[in-house]
């Protein structure tokens, strides 16, 4: 890539939780975080447990509401602050621009794994036949045993759920990907398939922000590290 094209700009982001039920106690997480991510680049968030890596990632997905600052996302060629834009646009950004692989599977219950994944693809305008094909190919690459495809993931092992998660996040070519421990709870060969998929997403130009404690895996796909703990807000 000759010129880096920015996909995400975080500016002066702060997150403090206020617990009203506990007399309004304030839990500061981080303050004044700024960074940028370009297309085809992967930034790994580092910092000890509790430093706010997941809180930051959830804020980027508009799952958490930042207390101050901006999260500018390149959406349909325009810069949009996902923290402050109206709900309808947040949903559109999630549908079309940002994919999220969460650490803990939170999916609609009672829906089979293959349907969960293909629904994501269909929401991007794929026909249902092609969506099933693409989803199947992805699950095959991730080595999820075929007899599990038609089962809802609720009863799966951690590693099996994780592969459904990864497939849901990667089935569409999102321009921005948020990965929260994508390779945790995977064995060596499955971890390799996951890493390959992440590298492919990167080479097609996805801007990736990842949390990954597994340093060997992280070194394979991360271009640089971003230490969240240095923004620890004072209590």
């Amino acid at each position: 890539m000759t010129q880096k094209s920015l996909m995400l700009q975080v500016r002066n982001l702060r997150k403090t939780f206020t617990l009203h039920g506990r007399g309004g106690v304030q839990l500061p997480v981080f303050n004044d975080i700024s960074f940028e991510v370009s297309a085809g680049e992967c930034v790994a968030l580092i910092g000890s447990s509790g430093s706010g890596k997941s809180t930051l990632l959830r804020s980027l997905y508009a799952n958490y509401l930042p207390s101050a600052g901006e999260i500018l996302v390149k959406h349909h060629g325009e810069w949009v602050d996902i923290a402050s834009v109206e709900a309808r646009t947040k949903l559109e950004i999630r549908r079309e621009t940002i994919g999220y692989v969460s650490q803990f599977l939170r999916v609609i219950p009672r829906i089979s794994s293959i349907d969960l994944i293909s629904e994501v693809a269909i929401s991007g305008g794929m026909s249902s036949e092609i969506a099933i094909e693409v989803s199947s190919a992805l699950l095959r690459r991730l080595n999820l045993p075929e007899h599990l495809w038609n089962v809802p993931p609720a009863t799966f092992s951690g590693g099996e759920q994780q592969r459904v998660n990864i497939a849901m996040g990667l089935v569409r070519p999102y321009p921005i990907l948020l990965l929260d421990e994508p390779t945790a709870s995977l064995d060596a060969s499955n971890r390799e398939s996951a890493i390959e998929l992440i590298l492919e997403a990167k080479s097609r130009g996805a801007a990736i922000i990842a949390i990954c404690h597994d340093e060997t895996a992280r070194d394979r796909f991360a271009d640089r590290l971003f230490d969240v703990s240095q923004f620890k807000a004072a209590a």
């Binding site: 939780f17 206020t18 617990l19 009203h20 039920g21 959830r58 508009a62 799952n63 958490y64 509401l65 709900a87 309808r88 947040k90 949903l91 609609i108 219950p109 009672r110 829906i111």
Partner: protein, 257 residues
């Protein structure tokens, strides 16, 4: 995209000054599902009444994109216009199926009646379409000619949904759609509603006190307390990172299953 439904500072007080709801504003777009949660007496059912044309607000304006012709004040429509709206563009799923069904008319008749109300006259077509919709909500075809009162609560609720969807509404109002049903029946009904909302692309306003229902069905959430909206946002954001003291209390009061 044009808004489908718009509430502007909607408020309603009951005779005697009892406050129902106050200063509620939002816009709903085609295909969007808005959840409204709050405890009993928070004004959510009053609001639903105002939005769905059943209760004239004492303040504010409710507008709907009537027939795709642009937003019009729902309460300035003539009575026939409003009734047509309720039978075509709108569907109201009541908490108690007895309020939404005619109990002395067969299940098929209940569904067919909506079609006749919008001008369908061919008996064969009406019956086929009614059968088709009853199958989609998982009512066995052998029960089509039975009276709803011989059905279980969950089945009655599904007949009510078929009756509403047969006229292909663009907006559905649901008042505690799973209230009074067993948990397993609730689950199936929710799966059905979720599938229908997604496949048909209808917009919906869902009023409930059950956070699991909105987590599953709604894109956006509005939390009400004492007649006022205290918080709005994406459903998962309001449930995972509630800002207002009352939303925090509401979310923390639910046992994690």
């Amino acid at each position: 995209m044009k808004a489908l439904l718009e509430a502007e500072s909607v408020g309603h007080s009951y005779p005697g000054g009892q406050l129902g709801c106050e200063d509620v504003s939002f816009r709903l777009y085609p295909g969007e599902v808005l959840g409204v949660v709050g405890e009993s007496g928070s004004g959510k059912s009053t609001l639903l009444g105002c939005l769905s044309g059943m209760l004239e607000p004492s303040n504010g304006i409710v507008r709907f994109d009537v027939g795709g012709q642009g937003l019009r004040d729902v309460f300035s429509l003539s009575e026939p216009e409003r009734r047509l709206l309720m039978r075509t563009d709108w569907g109201i799923v009541r908490q108690n199926p007895r309020d939404g069904l005619r109990m002395n008319v067969s299940a098929g008749g209940n569904v067919g009646e909506r079609l006749m109300a919008v001008g369908a006259r061919n008996y064969g077509n009406i019956r086929n379409e009614a059968l088709d919709w009853l199958t989609r909500v998982e009512i066995p075809s052998s029960r089509v000619d039975d009276l709803p009162r011989t059905f279980s609560g969950g089945m009655q609720q599904r007949v009510q949904i078929a009756r509403i969807l047969v006229s292909k509404p663009r907006l559905i109002f649901m008042d505690e759609p799973t209230g009074g049903l067993d948990v397993s029946v609730q689950a199936r009904l929710l799966d059905l509603l979720r599938g229908l909302v997604r496949d048909l692309g209808v917009a919906a306003v869902v009023v409930t006190h059950d956070l699991a229902v909105v987590r599953l069905l709604s894109d956006r959430l509005m939390v009400m307390r004492q007649g006022r909206v205290v918080e709005t946002g994406l459903t998962d954001q309001v449930l995972d990172d509630p800002q207002h003291p009352y939303s925090q209390l509401l979310v923390s009061s639910v046992l994690q299953a």
